[in-house]
Each structure stands twice: as structure tokens, then as C-alpha cells.
Subunit: 227 residues, 2 copies
């Protein structure tokens, strides 16, 4: 197996036949030892974080497949902490797509003059460029089209999928008495068809979830969701 990319929270290998294997690591994003799903740096290592993230990811990707939502998911091996996925091409150097139900994190930091912390938002979607050096700048639909990163039609697909996927996660969590505040997704083009599809993972590491107003850390979240 050829290692083709080492990410902050997973390593990526090329499989024979064209698919890709993602090995989940125990590193999580954050700063100064504190977990932050919006951070660009690995803040801490938590034993079992990789396996926990993979369990959640498998759970949600299987749910999404049942609903006919296009994702890169093929199969997962929990013991080996790995997930087989379809090959994808990135939009530019990678985008993060955030869906927000409450004003927290970078939304609050940017737009705090116009909102209160925790104020409800209407499944608000925004896109940032994956660019550590430039602190993941937000970019508009027009900006993405202007720079040739994706077409306006692809943007509309990506935005609709983001709301659809985030609503699935929100509803699943609500059943367990949990509230989704925001979630960060990644998309790519299906290597075979070129269609927009969900890539990466869906785990506690890329969402903020609260129970009765208290933030639930990723590994506690997995236990509550998969209980």
C-alpha cells in the first residue's frame, strides 16, 4: 500500500483497483491541548480517538447511503481503524463547508456585532479555503467561481447536499437528546463520474454538539450516539 498523503488526523493510502484507504489517527485538532473542531493544528492526542471517530463516521455514512446521498464511503474496518473510500478529486486545494444552526466559533468571532452567542441560525452554509497560512479564509460562491475552484452549479449542489447531510446528522442527534450547533463537511468530485460527493469523515471531531446547554467532547459524543 502506497502512502499518498499524511493529514492532521488521518493517513491516506492508495489501494490496488483505484480505491483509497484512510487510516484514522488518535490526533485531534485544537490548540494548547484543548480540542477545537475549527482549529488548524493538532492540539492533542487522545488514545482511541481514531477508532471512536471511525465508528461515528461509519454510522453516519451508512445512514447517508440509505438515503441515497452520494459519499465516498465503501467499507470500514473498525479493528484496523481504517476506511475504504472511492477516489476523489479535490476542489482546488480543498474546501471546508460549514453548516451552522447556532452562532458559535468563527461565525461569532466574525459577526459578533450582529448576533448573540448561541443565537439560532437557519442551517447557514459557508465555505472556507483549506489554507493554513491564510487562516482558512471564507469565500463566497462568486469567489469560488471567479477563481475556478468550482462552478456555480457545483456550488448549488454542494450547498444543497450540505443542508441535507447536516439535517440528517441533526435529526439523528436530536433522537438522543443532543443538539447540533455546527458541523464541518468536506466534498470532492467522484474520481469516476466527476459528481460532487461527501468525502472525509463525520465524527465528533468536526461538529459541535451540546446536551442541555453543555458541550459534549467527541469521544463522549460517540458513546451517547452509538449507545
Amino acid at each position: 500500500m502506497e502512502l499518498i498523503y499524511q493529514g492532521k488526523t488521518k493517513d491516506v493510502y492508495k489501494l490496488e483497483g483505484g480505491n483509497v484507504l484512510l487510516k484514522f489517527k488518535d490526533d485531534v485538532t485544537g490548540e494548547d491541548g484543548v480540542f477545537d473542531p475549527g482549529a488548524n493544528t493538532v492540539g492533542l492526542t487522545i488514545e482511541g480517538a481514531g477508532k471512536s471517530g471511525l465508528r461515528m463516521t461509519k454510522y453516519f455514512f451508512v445512514k447517508l447511503a440509505e438515503k441515497g446521498i452520494p459519499t465516498h464511503y465503501v467499507d470500514a474496518n473498525i479493528d484496523e481503524v481504517s476506511m475504504e473510500v472511492k477516489a476523489a478529486t479535490m476542489f482546488g486545494k480543498g474546501l471546508e463547508v460549514i453548516c451552522r444552526y447556532r452562532a458559535v466559533g468563527s461565525f461569532l468571532r466574525r459577526y459578533g456585532a450582529y448576533c448573540e452567542e448561541g443565537q439560532p441560525l437557519d442551517a447557514f452554509v459557508e465555505v472556507t479555503l483549506k489554507d493554513d497560512d491564510r487562516k482558512d479564509p471564507p469565500i463566497s460562491k462568486d469567489g469560488l467561481a471567479q477563481l475556478g475552484i468550482l462552478t456555480k452549479e457545483e456550488y448549488d449542489t454542494l450547498e444543497a447536499l450540505t443542508k441535507q447531510i447536516s439535517d440528517v446528522v441533526k435529526e439523528e442527534l436530536a433522537v438522543k437528546g443532543l443538539e447540533l450547533y455546527d458541523i464541518k463537511l468536506e466534498f470532492g468530485r467522484d474520481g469516476a463520474t466527476g459528481d460532487v460527493m461527501l468525502i472525509d469523515e463525520i465524527s465528533g471531531g468536526n461538529m459541535r454538539v451540546y446536551k442541555d446547554g453543555t458541550y459534549i467532547p467527541p469521544m463522549d459524543l460517540e458513546k451517547l450516539v452509538l449507545a
Copy 2:
């Protein structure tokens, strides 16, 4: 005359009858004594800058009126360095609307991973919130609607007016052998009708203009344009 607001580059007075008087000052935005149209601080004072800015503003606002583009302009008194305008209500705490023909300034700082300095852009419009503390964050059409700052219909009007106005300025400059790289406009609602209209000024202080690849400072620009 009642002083109702002291801005970085002009003071605002209320006139009897409901109109407003803008007194242009010699202060220009910048940092460390260097002019920068994108800066949030007054960087330097240049004798005659206010009068120069007003002359340019009058020139362009009269042009725009001839084309039926809605602005707040009523009249200007060059000797008194003042401009009478219609009363306007702001969008939230104020927006800046930028139209870009070349990748420079904050666009390049944010999106430099995807463009070269000076690369042509297709009259690219973006909006930032006037918020010094949060460094004038960019905000999308959806974000503006989400926060109740302006409706999606008002955004479309504002964007179309921005391109129309910027194109008028670009063409006027081109006649003098000058090239507009970007321009920053401000809009408000007409105090009487509620319609979106151009407010503030159009001068060297809110645009980047080049001649044969060399940047032209505001007061030199006025001399070239009004020669």
C-alpha cells in the same frame, strides 16, 4: 448646523429641511504614514486632500446622475469643502462594497493560493462589514440575509449597482489612460423612499488606480482625471 457624526475622513452635519452636509477632511486612511484605501485607521493628513476628494466625488456623482444611477448627491461647494446629500439609513452598522478588476489588496492576501498579484478579475464584487474591532470581515449574500442586514433582493440591487457604477468609473479613467484595479463603494437606503442608493464618496481615497503599471496616489489621480 448640528454635528451628528465624526468620521475618519469626513464630518457629518444635519441640515434644516432633512438633508445632510458632509465636510471633507484632509485626513486619509492608511497605516504608518502610508496611504492605503483598505485601511481602517487614519494614516496621514495631506493638505488639500479633502478638497481634492470632493472635486473627484462631484465629478463622478454628476456623471452617475446623468446615467440615472441613484445616489445621495444633491450639490457640492468646493470652496467650503462640503457636499449636500440626501439623508440615508445604513445597512446595519455599515457595509463596504468592493468591485475588483485585478487581484490586489485584501483579495490577494486572502486568496493568494489561487491567484497571482494583479491577475484580471471579472468585476468581482464582495461585501465586508464595517467593524474595526473585527477587521472588516467579509460576508456573503446569505450571511447578510441571515443576520437581517439586507434582503437578498436588496443584495442583488446593490451588486448590480456596484458593477454599473464601477464600470462608469473604470471607463472614465480609461479615457485618461488610467486603469482601475479596485474600488470601494458604500450604499444605504434612501431616507425618503427606502431604495438602495450610493452614498459616501467616489475619490482617489477609495480606489486603486494604475498608469502603465505604476500606482497613482489620490491627489495625483485627481489632477489627471480633472485635467
